[in-house]
Amino acid sequence: MDLSKLKKRPSYPFETIAVAISFSPRCHPVLAEAKRLSDVLGASMLLLHIGEKTSEKEQELDEMMSKIGVNPNHSRVIWMEGEPVDTILKLCKLNIVDLLVLGALEKENILKFYLGSIARNISRKAKCSVLLLTNPDPQPKKFKKIVVNGVSNPKTIHTINTALYLAKNLKVKDLTIVNEVDVPGLAMAIADDSTAPQTKEIKKNLAEESEETLQMILEKCDSGDVNVTDKNIKGKPGYAISKFSKDKKADLLVINSPDTHLNVFDRIFAHDIEYILADLPCNLLIVHSRI
C-alpha cells in the first residue's frame, strides 16, 4: 500500500468510510448511520472488527449487513486481532480511509475518561477524519443543524469546506460557524491603567479582529445554497462551542483535529477538544485536514 497517497490528501470528498464493528447493542445503529452516509456521499464502506473471527460473529455481521442493506460490492470486511486503538488506526492508514465512524457515549465515567476509552483515544490519534455518533439510530435521521469551529488556524479552512461538503450532500440548510473569543491574561492587562472607553475599545478591536479573520476564511469557501451564519462567542475554546452546540440543539459539531499529541495531562488540564470529548454535546466530526 502506498502510504504517500495519504499525505496532502484533501479532507473531502469521503471516498472510503470505515466503521468499527464491536457487536455491541449500538453496533447496528452505527452501521446503519455509516451506510446512510456512504450512500449519500457515494463512498465505499470498510467494516473493521478487531477481535477473533468466529463463524457466529460472521453470521451475525452478515445478518446485520443484509438487514441494513449494505451492498457487498461496495463494502469490505476486515477482521484482525490486536490492540483495538492501534489496530484500527493502522487499518485506516493502510486502506486510505477518509472517514472513520464510531459510536460513543456522551459522557464516560471518570476513570474511563482519564484512562481513555477506545472511541476517544482513536479521536485523539487518528490520521483521518472521525465521526463520533452519540445517539445512532437504526433509522438514521437527517441532520438539520451543523455547528463548525471557526478558530484561527490553518486547518480551519479545510474543516469549514468539509462541513460545507457534508451540508450540501446531506441537504442541511443551517450551518453556523462559531469563533470562540478568549484572550488569556486580558483581564490582568486592562485592570490597572485602562479607562472604561479604552477597555471597551480593546474588547471591540479583539472581537472585530476575530470577525475579520473568519470573514476572510468564509470568502474562500463555496457555501452553495447552505445558509451559513457566523457567530463570535466568549469563553474557553472547546467548552464554549460545546455549550453553544448543546444550547442550539445541533445535530453535528465539526472541529479541527488536535494540533498536538494529546495525553492524560491534557485531560487533567483540559483544553479545546478535551472539553468536547469530556461531554459530547451532539455527534462530533473531527476533520483531519492532512496538511
Binding site: L186, A187, A191, D192, D193, T260
Partner: protein, 411 residues
C-alpha cells in the same frame, strides 16, 4: 481586644488615603509617558518614605507612618493582605492548559527560560557569595542561592500581558508562546520560592523537615489543581446563579483565597502559595464569568496593589541602599539568563531566530512579580536592602525595555 485609639484611626485612614490618592495621580501621569503603573506606585513610596519625605520633613513622615504603636501593626496586616490578594489574581490568570495547548515550543521556552536563569543565578550566588555580602556558610549561602536563582527566573505576567496588548500581539503565535511560558514560569517560580521561604526558619541540614516541606508543597499544589479545581468548577455555576451577583462570587472567591492562604501558612509554607494556587484553581474554571474575573482584578489591582507597592518605598531608603555594582550584576544576569534561556527554548521549539529573540525579550519583563518576591525575601531576612533595591531596579528596567526590544525583532 486591643483597639486603635481615636487618633490612631484617623492617622491610619489618612496614611491609606494618601497612598491611594497620590499613587493614582502618579500612575495617571506615568501613563502619559507609557510608564507602568507599578513604577508610579513605587515612586510615590519613595517620595512618601524615608528616602525623600523622611529626609526633608521627618515629622510629617513619622506622623503619617509612625514606627511605633498600633498603626504599624495595622498597616502590616493590610500589606500582608495586599500581597495575598495580589498573588491570588496573579494565579487567576495562570492557565496550565495553555502550555499544553501551545505544544513543544511553549514547553521548551518555559523550561529553558526557567532553568538557565535559575542556574546562572544559583551558580553566581553559590560560588561568589562575597559579591552579595552573604556569609560563606552552607546554610545561608544555599538559601540565598536558591532565592537568587528563583528571582532571576520568574516572569511578570501582568506586565507581559500589557506589553503584548499594546503591541497587538496578544493573539499571535509569539504572544501565546510568551503568555503560556510566563504562566508556567510563575507557577514553578512561586512553588520554589515558597519552599525557600519555608526553609528560612529551619535548618537546611534537617533533611526530614526538608522532604516534608517539599511533600507538603507538592501535595497541596496537586490537590488544589486537580480535586480542588474540580470542586470549584462544579460549585461555581451554583454560586453564580443562586447567590447574589456579583457579590456572592466575590465573597466566596476571596474567602477561598484566604482560607487556602491560611492553610499553607498553618503548615509552615508561606500564605502566598495558598493564595496563588487558589487563584489558579479558581481562575481556570470554565464557569467563571468574565465580569466576575474583571471585578476581582479591578478591586485588587486598584486598591491592594497601590498600598503594597507604595509600602515598599516606605520601608527602604533607596538612595542609601543603592549599590551600583550589585545593580549592574543583577541587571546583566537578568538579561543574559532570561533572554538566552527563552531564545534557546523557542529555537528548539521551531521558532525563527528573530521571533525567538522577541520571545526572549518579552519574557524578560519582571515587573510587579519580582518586586513582590523581593519584598517577601527582604521581610523574611533572606536578602539585604541593597540586593532588594537592585531587584526593584532590575524589575523596572526589564519591564521598560521589554516592549521596545521585542519590537526590534518583530518588525
Amino acid at each position: 481586644m486591643i483597639k486603635l485609639a481615636h487618633n490612631e484611626l484617623i492617622v491610619l485612614l489618612l496614611s491609606i488615603s494618601t497612598m491611594l490618592i497620590i499613587s493614582r495621580i502618579f500612575a495617571e501621569l506615568g501613563k502619559r509617558f507609557k510608564l507602568p503603573v507599578v513604577m508610579g506606585e513605587l515612586i510615590v513610596g519613595i517620595v512618601l518614605g524615608p528616602t525623600i519625605l523622611g529626609m526633608m520633613y521627618p515629622d510629617i513622615f513619622l506622623y503619617l507612618f509612625p514606627r511605633t504603636g498600633n498603626i504599624p501593626i495595622a498597616l502590616d496586616g493590610i500589606f500582608s493582605l495586599s500581597v495575598i490578594m495580589l498573588l491570588f489574581v496573579a494565579g487567576m490568570e495562570v492557565q496550565l492548559s495553555l502550555v499544553l495547548k501551545q505544544g513543544k515550543v511553549a514547553v521548551y521556552t518555559s523550561m529553558f527560560s526557567m532553568v538557565i536563569p535559575f542556574f546562572t543565578g544559583f551558580a553566581i550566588a553559590w560560588f561568589f557569595p562575597e559579591i552579595f555580602s552573604i556569609p560563606d556558610e552552607q546554610g545561608p549561602k544555599l538559601l540565598f542561592a536558591l532565592f537568587f536563582g528563583t528571582a532571576l527566573s520568574i516572569s511578570a505576567l501582568p506586565v507581559i500581558a500589557r506589553i503584548l496588548m499594546d503591541m497587538n500581539l496578544f493573539k499571535t503565535n509569539i504572544g501565546m508562546v510568551i503568555i503560556a511560558s510566563a504562566m508556567f514560569n510563575d507557577l514553578i517560580g512561586w512553588l520554589i520560592f515558597s519552599f525557600v521561604l519555608s526553609l528560612t526558619n529551619k535548618s537546611v541540614n534537617d533533611h526530614f523537615s526538608l522532604w516534608y516541606t517539599v511533600l507538603y508543597i507538592l501535595g497541596f499544589g496537586l490537590f488544589m489543581l486537580t480535586i480542588g479545581k474540580k470542586i470549584i468548577d462544579k460549585t461555581l455555576p451554583w454560586m453564580q446563579t443562586k447567590l447574589s451577583w456579583p457579590g456572592g462570587v466575590l465573597s466566596i472567591s476571596l474567602g477561598i483565597c484566604l482560607l487556602s492562604a491560611a492553610f499553607t501558612e498553618a503548615i509552615h509554607i508561606h500564605a502566598i502559595l495558598g493564595a496563588f494556587i487558589a487563584g489558579i484553581a479558581f481562575g481556570d474554571s470554565v464557569h467563571l464569568r468574565e465580569q466576575a474575573r474583571e471585578i476581582i482584578h479591578q478591586f485588587v489591582t486598584n486598591f491592594f496593589a497601590p498600598l503594597f507597592f507604595v509600602s515598599i518605598g516606605l520601608k527602604v531608603n533607596f538612595i542609601e541602599n543603592f549599590d551600583g555594582r550589585i545593580v549592574a550584576i543583577v541587571l546583566v544576569l537578568a538579561y543574559v539568563g532570561k533572554v538566552l534561556g527563552a531564545f534557546i527554548g523557542a529555537r528548539l521549539g521551531g521558532m525563527s531566530k528573530n521571533h525567538s529573540l522577541a520571545v526572549g525579550f518579552g519574557m524578560n519583563a519582571r515587573g510587579a512579580m519580582e518586586i513582590i518576591l523581593g519584598t517577601l525575601a527582604l521581610n523574611a531576612g533572606l536578602i539585604s536592602k541593597p540586593i532588594f533595591v537592585a531587584l526593584v531596579i532590575m524589575a523596572l528596567v526589564t519591564s521598560l525595555t521589554s516592549g521596545p526590544l521585542m519590537k526590534r525583532f518583530i518588525d
